[in-house]
Symmetry: C2
Subunit: 517 residues, 2 copies
């Protein structure tokens, strides 16, 4: 896991109230859906889920009894249920433990064993004491789940508790009861489209959240991909507009856009800065203008986009070599085993292209600086980073060959089209089956690089094996982290904290439609 917490207490932010007002004006009205329970389970002595016969659902529960509610699909919302005491008068409080799970495997884990580096506070469980029954309990916090395990910590020997009418009040910025239909004719791909559309819908809340289970935050890297999937499905551009204004409304005093925004309560930027994420503001704005032809927004936010590029270019030397400071690392992917220098150069070249397209589509004059920068950075890649003998790009001081570099150089179109095809063919021979990469985020760029380079069969196959691999494991929504070679992988040392509905995994709906797979 390469993600390092950044602490930048001395960095100050500028708040552009006009932009933030625009963000407010585009706040969505959430669509509410009431979902009752589909199936009841209990656990057998081996702690496996066992369906509960109908007649047992009506039975009151004793100390240590548990019920697992299955709402049939993934939801983001509030759980409510009715509780009543059966037997003698309630002579002690009722104590119930609720454990929310996006996938059944989470239910088997004991949170007491969690020692991971991410906050334990994200573990989706609650314990409630209830002093008076009957009552309708509405849990005050929003959770992201399909399953809820309810354990009776205790009643008393004199009475038991009956759980009835569990219901989820689920929300989304889009109508989840009428999800857009898949476009592919291939049943496997249709299923992947369906799940990716559901994933996106679940993450579309007050903003594009990265994951409704954890963080629940607007990250630029996720937004970039969510927006593309959104255009291909719900086409709800106002939510993209809102998010662009949130990022643009709270840059640092130097004009740098934060990697993510806190949106609980008053919006606030995180003091975390990622090179590629800042630059993707440009790509995201370009895609937005492409999609909506909303030239006014494009023109208003263009200076903010330009500022990201200008800041990036200060780290490019006269040879066209990008050398990033430690304070502004490139994310590329969570993995930390591969060098990212060349991939970061590829991101910069790719975004330079996006910026020039944006400038043109807004009918603005193109400064020669950016064209020159594109040429210089591209030339550096061609002449210095490309190893003609190997047919691959090297990365970093140790001239490492890795998949990140080939993918981003292909996406940056550094080489002529036919050579890019050869590059990705070589990459395919060298690095497939892919190992050591755990994020659908990076897999999205690998698949895109294959498809853009004409390796349609390989791109389609990877999409099927990777996202299809999650479906084979009964994914209702796509995951934050998935390593085909290690299906229990958690970047946090414990799957309890994994987000199993994660925005950056939602792109197949976009890829399948765009490339007509």
């Amino acid at each position: 896991m390469a993600f390092k917490f950044q602490l930048n207490p001395n960095i100050k932010f500028d708040y552009n109230q006009k932009f933030l007002a625009q963000a407010d004006a585009n706040e969505p009205t959430l669509i509410v859906h009431q979902q009752s329970v589909k199936r009841w389970y209990t656990l057998n002595t081996q702690k496996q889920l066992v369906p509960l016969p109908n007649k047992l659902i009506q039975l009151p529960l004793h100390r240590d009894d548990c019920r697992i509610l299955d709402f049939g699909d993934h939801y983001v919302g509030h759980l409510a249920l009715d509780l009543s005491a059966h037997g003698a008068h309630m002579d002690a409080p009722l104590t119930l433990k609720f454990q929310f799970a996006e996938v059944p495997a989470e239910l088997a884990l004991d949170s007491a064993n969690y020692t991971g580096w991410l906050s334990r506070s994200w573990i989706a469980e609650e314990v409630f004491h209830i002093d008076s029954l009957p009552t309708s309990l509405r849990l005050p916090r929003r959770y992201s789940f399909r399953y809820v395990k309810i354990t009776v910590i205790d009643t008393s020997p004199k009475w038991q508790v009956l759980l009835t009418n569990p219901i989820v009040t689920a929300t989304s910025a889009v109508d989840e009861e009428n999800l857009p239909r898949p476009t592919s004719k291939d049943p496997e791909l249709r299923e992947i489209e369906r799940v990716s559309t559901k994933t996106l819908a679940e993450c579309m809340q007050n903003v594009f959240e990265d994951g409704p289970k954890r963080d629940q935050r607007l990250w630029l890297g996720d937004l970039h991909l969510q927006a593309l999937a959104n255009y291909a499905t719900f086409n709800h551009p106002d939510l993209v507009k809102r998010c662009l204004y949130l990022f643009a409304g709270m840059p640092t005093t130097r004009g740098l856009i934060s990697a993510n925004i806190f949106t609980h309560g008053r919006p606030a930027p995180d003091d975390t800065f990622l090179f590629d994420y800042s630059l993707f503001f440009i790509s995201c704005l370009k895609d937005y203008v492409d999609q909506t032809h909303d030239r006014a927004t494009g023109l208003t936010l263009y200076p903010i986009a330009q500022r990201q590029l200008d800041l990036a270019l200060t780290y490019v030397d006269h040879n066209g070599k990008l050398q990033l400071p430690e304070s502004w690392p490139a994310f590329i992917d969570w993995g930390d085993i591969y060098d990212k220098t060349t991939a970061a150069q590829g991101v910069l070249i790719s975004v330079l292209r996006d910026f020039l397209v944006l400038t043109t589509s807004l009918k603005l004059p193109t400064s020669t600086i950016y064209q020159a920068s594109l040429e210089r950075t591209t030339r550096y890649a061609q002449t210095t980073l490309f190893d003609a003998d190997q047919g691959l790009f090297t990365s970093g001081p140790k001239h490492e060959f890795n998949l990140y570099s080939q993918v981003w150089m292909a996406l940056a179109k550094v080489l002529p089209s036919k050579q890019t095809t050869k590059l990705m063919q070589k990459a395919y021979r060298s690095y497939f089956p892919v190992t050591g990469i755990a994020t659908p985020y990076m897999y999205h760029f690998i698949v895109t690089a294959l498809l853009e380079s004409g390796l349609r069969t390989e791109g389609r196959r990877l999409l099927k094996t990777y996202w299809g691999g999650m479906i084979a494991q009964h994914a209702d929504t796509f995951w934050e982290a998935y390593k085909p070679e290690d299906s229990n992988y958690s970047p946090y040392g414990n799957p309890l904290i994994n987000s199993y509905c994660h925005a950056w995994a939602c792109t197949p709906a976009y890829l399948i439609k765009k490339y007509q797979l």
Copy 2:
């Protein structure tokens, strides 16, 4: 532990709305006291309490840090405190665990190990997730405590939490800031009086609770003793009146008074019936009339008192032998190692005397039935239960000699005064130091029997060693259970559930004043 849960689902209750309205009319206005924290502690590596230097109180806390708040004395109320995040923007929820303790020993125990028979729901702990800081957190449930351990389950690596302004909003039906002063000249006894007065004050809430930590319920056995201590200290007879009306207002359809009343929400009788507790309604009404000369209440409730006696007398045979059904056991004490048959007979005789006194003081005609019953039950005790050779009473089919029997026969004044003195002298030689008895409730009757029999020195000594023994263990209030020979004793298999402020332990203030110790 002899206490068995009773389940009587088929028993129906009569609700006397006039009586319940009288109970309502005498509901006390609780007096509120705001108490700020007196001392801050943390735990050292050996999990011992270590005072926290002032400058450390101001430091924000990380994952697994803990603070122990000491409010300087026992309180019953709601905890509130201010919470703020320090460091970067809050990027995860805050999770705090609160553990409330009446005595420090509770803080060292892990609730996960509790396997006792009483409901785990009584374990005084809460876990809260807080999504937004700063905030003022007011815990919604009332707790009974002097100490609160707050453990930071987690913040995140980017920020810490600062706890400030912890405050208890404490309640009592009496003014705890002006407790009645002790009456004894003996410093040890004065301290015992002080602690017993505090114990009573803490249990005087909306009703006389048995213990504010657990049950929080109106039990007749406790009320009987609390009322006596109350007359000797706060003299708040309206609360006794309220409680008498609550019991009288909800008997079974046969007219039997329940052992206790639930008073959270709408009052309701428990379906638990104890012979001695039902009868103590009579003694409690007699004491109330003695104290207040409120003849109107006495006359109104007299038929209810009489009904308890009439029901009891149905279990007395023509020889004067009481033989109780399983459905109406005598409590006497929690212990289950000694036979209680003779003690129950002693309770009946004692209460018969109280009933006759009550009848006289209300200037009602005395039915010859009760006088005859008194004579018959007394004669049975004298002739059949008393073993002249041993100078002690036997109990049960196995002719067991035990302390319960001697105490209750002494209190029932079955023998002439001098012989009662001899009886208690013999009991003293036979059963002291007392072992196998864990309740201050039974110890109250032992001390009373000694004092009533003229064994003033022995009574005073027992009062000092027993209640003083709890003070030697730093009791701020007297306990539900205390065995001098086993100071870690818990009737529940775990002291986490023990009530360390328990009404039935509050009688020294009464005993010391009444007997001018």
